[in-house]
């Protein structure tokens, strides 16, 4: 009986320490040291929260760069609660069909020949369904469409190319991770540089 009573009492004490003091301490320290990060790295434009710099969001307008497809696409949003992946295996018939359809749609839209490779990240869904990034190639592939839709002249188009290249994030310290482009931040910069075509 004694160890049972000790268990109950000790659990109570340790719950207070690890379940209340610890998270509260981390929260207080985070808020003072990293106020923006701890609150979700929210991005505000025109006094409106347009999203988090860390979360991908659905953009389908021709005037914007598009993110990766998401298993959480409900037609208006990439649903954030709950986050979701396709969880389809490499021999799944459904998955193969949907990947082929996405590839075909991109080829048609860009007028690409079938022997030119589509960037894999543009047709394969991410693990979180909220991947904020695309590969630099996937961003460059969309340059033409965005420039055309926004009615950019050749000089402006050059600016746009530079904008995209400036938004390419390199691997951390040149070693960790992959080169990538944050789609939301790129689109915000796009609206700022070429505001007239904003829609």
């Amino acid at each position: 009986m004694k160890p049972l009573l000790q268990s109950i009492r000790l659990l109570l004490v340790l719950t207070v320490i690890t379940g209340a003091v610890y998270p509260a301490l981390v929260t207080v320290l985070s808020k003072s040291m990293f106020p923006r990060q701890s609150a979700g790295s929210l991005v505000v434009r025109d006094r409106q929260v347009v999203g988090s710099a860390l979360l991908g969001q659905r953009t389908t307008s021709e005037a914007y760069f598009w993110p990766r497809p998401s298993a959480g696409d409900d037609g208006t949003n990439y649903v954030a609660v709950p986050s979701s992946a396709s969880n389809k295996g490499p021999t799944s018939a459904d998955w193969i069909t949907s990947v082929q359809q996405r590839s075909a749609a991109i080829r048609t839209a860009r007028g690409m020949s079938t022997n030119r490779a589509v960037p894999a990240d543009l047709v394969l869904a991410s693990g979180s369904g909220l991947d904020p990034h695309i590969s630099p190639d996937a961003a460059r592939l969309q340059l033409d469409r965005v420039a055309r839709t926004r009615g950019l002249n050749p000089e402006q188009r050059n600016t746009l190319t530079q904008l995209v290249e400036a938004k390419v994030e390199s691997p951390t310290l040149g070693v960790l991770g992959e080169p990538r482009v944050n789609v939301l931040l790129l689109n915000l910069a796009l609206d700022e540089t070429f505001p007239t075509a904003r829609r």
Partner: protein, 561 residues
């Protein structure tokens, strides 16, 4: 693999090997009752905890008392977590007004977190209230890891004990693991994670309007504090359903690197701790080498598979279920380490790995989580194989087998057989039931051999106390929740109890000095033999099942189901 990938691999394992003896030495100070900085800082807190808990830190326990205290403590923790989920709708810190967790799911989840598994048949952000997350799940993240560490140090004490049957004191081991190892490490890790963008707040969500005017709700919460301990304590249970693939749990390559390092950090350091405790650091490093060889071998399979383009989709790179910022390499490295250590967090969806990538994970799981494995749990699991190895070596040369100078007898070998074979037997039994029962098959998310892999993975993960999943399988059904609860308990206690029993049985035994005929347990021969024993025992048991799952799928790659 690119040059940069090789560099990442080198940096990763380099950091691990450098940190292992540092942390091992630190833990040795703690568990051998020496003075240390944190003790002078938090010694009063430690004593206050014993006073409030009514525990006498001077008391010593034999293996039965130690096991009883541990089982009771874990049992109470299980019941509290179960009750917390059932009553979360009546309790505070539930801003989203989430309903009570259904009983079968709550049962499975409570068992899962208590056993250091963190198998999750739910999506955290849509199921668990803030209170359940930070006062229930986070707490068990600490205490289940602390329990595993306690068992390991108790076992080490038994193996080197000279005549006494004491394994130490469970309460002090538990409290010191928590207070001096897990809490300080987690605190530092959590803050580094927040600096990278991991969320930490007690508000639960924020409404946003996207660039195209769509309204969306972004979930927030005390994420960093939970992610830190889930990575360090080989727990793996994500705050969000997408786990460490979710940008709010793992936003940058740097956060990914340190989370990945945290997966192996404590399991590796406990090997050095053990070497120091039994008085042979060379033996510790021999065990480390055996684990490392197995890890590299499985990683090679996974990396080879994932870098092959998939012919079924015109040779696209395998990025389904993977995040752009991590790419293929970091996703495979994580998948390999998280399944070797019984962590189970993921930064890419394992269900969408190539057949060989999935095979890597499954092999790690069915090796019984002894390749680094859970905090404490991996090493005490491997020690069962070590006893088996010296036993077989003894038989081969016709001498009474010895380990650390203690003669191995019938009792120990019986416990070893229970600890190694019982979990495997139940793994295959449960998977077989699921593969023929309609309730098991109804949950499948993929057809063909991949479907069998999903079932195998589920039970291998739960029995191995890993917690990762081929998540296409809908595990939130009464069938999987209930059968899974049994699997989780068997996987934990059918290894933990034999480990303590062996320590208890060897503790009073005399230590005989090494002689010319003693099989040395710190050389290459020992490492090779140990690796072989692990591979043969697990391989013979699981190869037929693996053949029908990922191996057949690999052969059929390009076909569809």
């Amino acid at each position: 693999m690119s040059q940069r990938d090789w560099l990442q691999l080198t940096v990763y394992f380099g950091a691990l090997i450098v940190l292992t003896p540092i942390l091992g030495g630190w833990m040795h100070r703690i568990f051998s009752n020496q003075s240390h900085v944190l003790r002078s800082l938090l010694g009063r807190v430690e004593r206050a905890i014993y006073r409030l808990g009514g525990c006498n830190p001077e008391e010593t326990m034999n293996w039965r008392q130690y096991a009883t205290a541990l089982v009771l403590f874990n049992g109470v923790g299980f019941l509290v977590l179960f009750a917390l989920q059932l009553g979360q709708h009546l309790l505070p810190f539930n801003p989203e007004h989430l309903p009570a967790v259904p009983p079968a799911l709550a049962l499975n989840t409570a068992m899962s977190f208590m056993t250091n598994t963190n198998w999750q048949a739910y999506s955290g952000e849509a199921t668990m209230s803030l209170l359940t997350q930070f006062a229930g799940l986070t707490v068990q993240n600490f205490l289940s890891a602390a329990s595993g560490l306690s068992v390991l140090v108790a076992m080490a004490r038994g193996l080197v004990s000279r005549g006494s049957d004491s394994l130490g004191n469970f309460w002090t081991d538990l409290v010191r693991s928590t207070l001096y190892v897990l809490l300080p490490l987690s605190l530092v890790f959590a803050l580094v994670l927040v600096s990278q963008g991991v969320v930490q707040t007690f508000s639960s969500s924020v409404e946003v309007t996207s660039l195209e005017g769509a309204k969306n709700s972004i979930p927030l919460g005390p994420v960093a504090s939970q992610v830190a301990i889930k990575q360090l304590g080989t727990n793996g249970g994500g705050y969000f359903g997408a786990n460490s693939a979710h940008p709010f749990e793992n936003p940058t390559p740097l956060s990914n690197f340190i989370e990945m390092l945290a997966i192996l950090l404590l399991p590796a350091a406990t090997v050095d701790l053990y070497g120091r405790m039994v008085g042979s650091r060379r033996h510790g490093w021999a065990l480390f080498s055996a684990m490392f060889v197995l890890l590299l071998a499985t990683l090679a399979i996974g990396l080879y598979g994932e870098f092959q383009p998939n012919p079924a989709v015109g040779g696209l790179a395998n990025l389904e279920g993977k995040e752009t910022r991590f790419g293929i390499f970091n996703s495979v490295l994580w998948a390999g380490t998280t399944t070797a250590a019984s962590n189970g967090s993921v930064n890419a969806m394992h269900d969408s790995l190539t057949p060989l990538g999935g095979l890597m994970c499954l092999v790690n799981l069915v090796l019984g989580e002894v390749v680094f494995g859970g905090v404490g749990a991996g090493l005490y699991g491997l020690l069962l194989y070590v006893v088996l190895t010296v036993f077989i070596a003894g038989l081969m040369v016709g001498r009474t087998p010895e380990y650390l100078g203690k003669k191995i007898g019938k009792t120990e070998i019986i416990w070893v057989m229970i600890g190694t074979l019982v979990p495997f037997a139940f793994l295959l039994l449960f998977a077989a039931i699921a593969a023929v029962h309609p309730a098991g098959l109804a949950s499948l998310g993929n057809a063909g051999p991949h479907g069998l892999s999903e079932i195998l993975y589920a039970f291998a993960s739960m029995i191995g106390n890993n917690g990762s999943a081929f998540a296409g399988l809908n595990a939130n059904t009464p069938f999987y929740n209930l059968l899974g609860t049994a699997a989780l308990a068997i996987g934990r206690f059918a290894v933990l109890i034999p480990a303590l029993a062996i320590a208890g049985s060897l503790a009073p035994r005399k230590v005989s000095p090494p002689s010319a005929g003693t099989f040395p347990t710190d050389g290459i021969l020992f490492v090779v033999l140990l690796v072989m024993v692990v591979v043969v025992v697990s391989g013979l048991t699981h190869l037929p099942a693996l053949t029908l799952g990922p191996i057949v799928e690999h052969v059929l790659l390009g076909r569809s189901f």
